[in-house]
Symmetry: C2
DNA sequence: ATTGACCTTCCCATTGTGGGAAGGTGCAAG
DNA sequence: CTTGCACCTTCCCACAATGGGAAGGTCAAT
């Protein structure tokens, strides 16, 4: 089947299929006489695997690892789980961060009149100079705080 | 003060300060005789505003709008709140998506032995070959995160 | 004068995706 | 056969936001 068909069936755009091929994430598709890429059910299944893995938020690099493991009959599930756990920890950390932001924003939105007046706790808070710690400037020599 | 000092005090890297200037997010800094950018407390305060707004996850475009509103004494808080609400809705939606992914991953990680054996529900789920006519899989995954 | 820490501009890379141009192919209708 | 349209191909550009680093100027202390 043609690439647009494979795209439709896998949920991966034709553009992305070509891109995945170009970066070596997936193997180069067979070509027909006319140079068109040709896909079969196996390839579509692989593309679906990629799409689902991407949907879970794995990076393309992680997708590559998972693809390799998927294809390897003698893999150890340990490695797969390790990858998934790492990603999970990452996601949970990001969720925590975003929830903190969400709480703050909710509070601010609540506190803001939202009318014609200019007073706005949201802007006040964003401007809020943090705890004024007097910065000791002994020299103009700046250590790059890394 | 020099750019690296302004960077240190605002929490925005020198690189980013120059970039923000180049895209017109902030006004071009005054220059000294030698061509060095020169910053005062006002500029640092503005940079801090930008950083905090970025920390809340607003895009640079949104930061630009908020900066304009911040500077405008005759703004209406309505517009600020509208922006914040829109961003908040966005964040909450993304949190919901990520929580769904998190739940799925937790379940899969749990179900996976994580030992030397190759059997792995994680990969099975990612592969989730379209309903094989015979075997009815009761895995009902939630999707999906885009 | 040398040294080292600054500063400047400019270009490149990242991640993952889409847009679009320029040109080849395949198939149906006129 | 020709026209037209829907495909396909490759190649380059753009995005958001940030960092890396080169090449070269400047300043201050030795």
């Amino acid at each position: 089947m043609n690439i647009s068909m494979a795209a439709e069936q896998s949920g991966v755009s034709a553009k992305m299929i070509r891109y995945y091929e170009s970066i070596g994430l997936i193997e180069a598709a067979d070509r027909r006489e006319n140079g068109y890429r040709d896909y079969g059910d196996t390839e579509v299944a692989m593309l679906q695997f990629v799409r689902r893995t991407r949907d879970m938020g794995f990076s393309l690099e992680e997708v590559a690892s998972l693809l390799t493991l998927w294809r390897n009959r003698r893999r150890s599930s340990r490695e797969v789980r390790r990858l998934a756990e790492k990603h999970l920890a990452n996601i949970d950390a990001r969720i925590a961060d975003m929830r903190a932001v969400s709480r703050t924003l909710k509070r601010l939105v609540h506190a803001c009149h939202g009318d014609d007046r200019p007073e706005c706790p949201i802007l006040d808070d964003l401007a809020a100079s943090k705890p004024k710690i007097e910065v000791a400037r002994r020299t103009n020599r700046t250590k790059t705080v890394k």
